[in-house]
Amino acid sequence: MASVDDLSATLNALADPTRRAILARLATGEAAVKELAEPFDMSLQAVSKHLKVLERGGLIVRTRQAQSRPCRIQPAALKDVADWLENYRKLWDQRLDRLGDYLKELQTKDREKDNGRKA
């Protein structure tokens, strides 16, 4: 599990539709900046900026060897986000379990009271 600082950088990187579209593209395989820029109406520099944010967020890596420096997705950071969200879900599952039990208990008591009155 990444530190919370890393998580924050990942969340920031994900908070943009263009960057998420780039990630979705990279999920199908690595690609060069030029190729990634094609679907967007923006300059290569603008796309490079987005890539830098994704890189800081640990979501992609850029190959050093090739001149085109193709980008590759790094799904481990995505898993950290999924794990983080999962914690919230667990908390609510546990709370709502207790709520369900409590409501059951309340109504059992009420029924007992009613029966007592009738008897």
Binding site: L11, P17, G29, R72, P75, L85, R89
Partner: protein
Amino acid sequence: MDARLDAVTEAGAGEIVVTRVLDAPRELVFAAWTDEERLKRWWAPKGCTTQFCTVDLRPGGKFHYCMRMSDGKDVWGIGIYREIVALERIVYIDSFADAEGNPVPPTHYGLSADHPAETLLTVTFAERAGKTTLTLRHALPATVTERDATEQGWIEMLDRLAQDLAKARDGGPRWTQR
């Protein structure tokens, strides 16, 4: 009634949606969410207890609570109500707090300063045939929820990617291959 009482409905970007059918009338469920003594009975998650709970049920009012965790540490929280529709809907902003009810940064409880300080909770209640469907939306910080309207379910995309990652570790397909 469907035997499956739990359902996770489609969530938008950066939010969790939990739906649960509770075998109780809506009045009772709403009271369990808004009455201090009732809240104390269930609010803390498993293994924890609610040490303190006050409710000022009006927009701008405070929901101040303290949970004693299983390790004995107290964690205070504060909710500021944004919207209350009796029996139907509760909306509040949740953050960490101190014993006086002032919001405190997450660092107070040993978390990083970058940890989201506020989350938005929306709870709705709908009754049918004596049972109440509770739908809870827990929205993560604005940085995560910002998105264009046409895009949906990117969280599911993350889940899929995470699953594929697990597969890749097991010797399945690799991301770099086409």
